[in-house]
């Protein structure tokens, strides 16, 4: 199950939802806001998402993971809005009978979520400027606009 939220992600209750008497393994992944990227000091991150499609594509990714690997439960939650350093931007959790499937499915989900869901992030730098991640070459006026923002 895929969820988009605008408030803090709480791993505890999410993990509970993976519990299953036939599960021997649980792998989770969390993406945290770190204070650096590409050699620059990052102050905070702003996530923008188009939730209806992010949810639908996320559900598709989870279904693919469950078809590829023998897992019992798989969930992903992604946050949007303004996030501070150390906050959790995305949580993925998978339970399975055995650890191999749990690890592989968890990895598959986060890898696909990062490249397929309509989610964007804007880094706010220590210098006061900001920039959309992965968009360095998106627009002719990109650098100028970001610096003025």
């Amino acid at each position: 199950m895929m969820e988009m939220v605008e408030t803090a992600i709480e791993p505890g209750p999410l993990r509970e939802q993976l519990l299953d008497a036939t599960a021997g393994a649980c792998a989770t992944f969390e993406g945290w806001i770190r204070n650096h990227n590409d050699g620059r000091d990052v102050l905070r991150l702003e996530y923008e998402a188009y939730a209806p499609l992010a949810i639908r594509e996320g559900e598709r990714v989870i279904r693919e993971a469950m078809a590829k690997y023998p897992v019992l439960n798989a969930r992903c939650v992604h946050r949007s809005g303004l996030l501070e350093i150390g906050e959790c931007a995305v949580w993925v959790g998978v339970s399975a009978a055995h650890r191999d499937a749990a690890f592989l499915a968890c990895r598959y989900i986060i890898d696909e979520v990062k490249v397929r869901l309509p989610i964007w992030k804007k880094e706010h730098y220590a210098g006061g400027d900001s920039g959309w991640v992965n968009c360095e070459r998106c627009g002719a006026h990109a650098a100028g606009r970001a610096a003025r923002a």
């Binding site: 499609l53 594509e57 964007w120 968009c135 998106c138 627009g139 002719a140 006026h141």
Partner: protein, 81 residues
């Protein structure tokens, strides 16, 4: 053929266009035609392939056909996680 479309811009595209959504009349057969025809709006000089597009809330390939009345969502390169 000229079509009346609703176009939605996201993230950097939204910032460049200065708005979330607009109605346009455009000579376009495919999603790629829309992307190319609206370069001055979304501001990207990149090939469409680096970006994503949805028509009426369905992610589609760039060669998907657009029809009169469609809503076309233009997504810059994504960066989830």
């Amino acid at each position: 053929m000229s079509k009346r479309l609703t176009v939605r811009y996201f993230a950097m595209f939204r910032e460049h266009a200065g708005l979330d959504e607009e109605s346009v009349t455009l000579d376009a057969d495919t999603a790629a035609d829309v992307f190319a025809g609206l370069r001055h709006r979304h501001g990207s000089a990149e090939p469409a392939g680096h970006c994503k597009v949805a028509i009426n809330d369905e992610l589609v390939d760039w060669d998907a056909a657009v029809h009169d009345g469609d809503t076309v969502l233009l997504f810059p390169p994504v960066a989830g996680g």
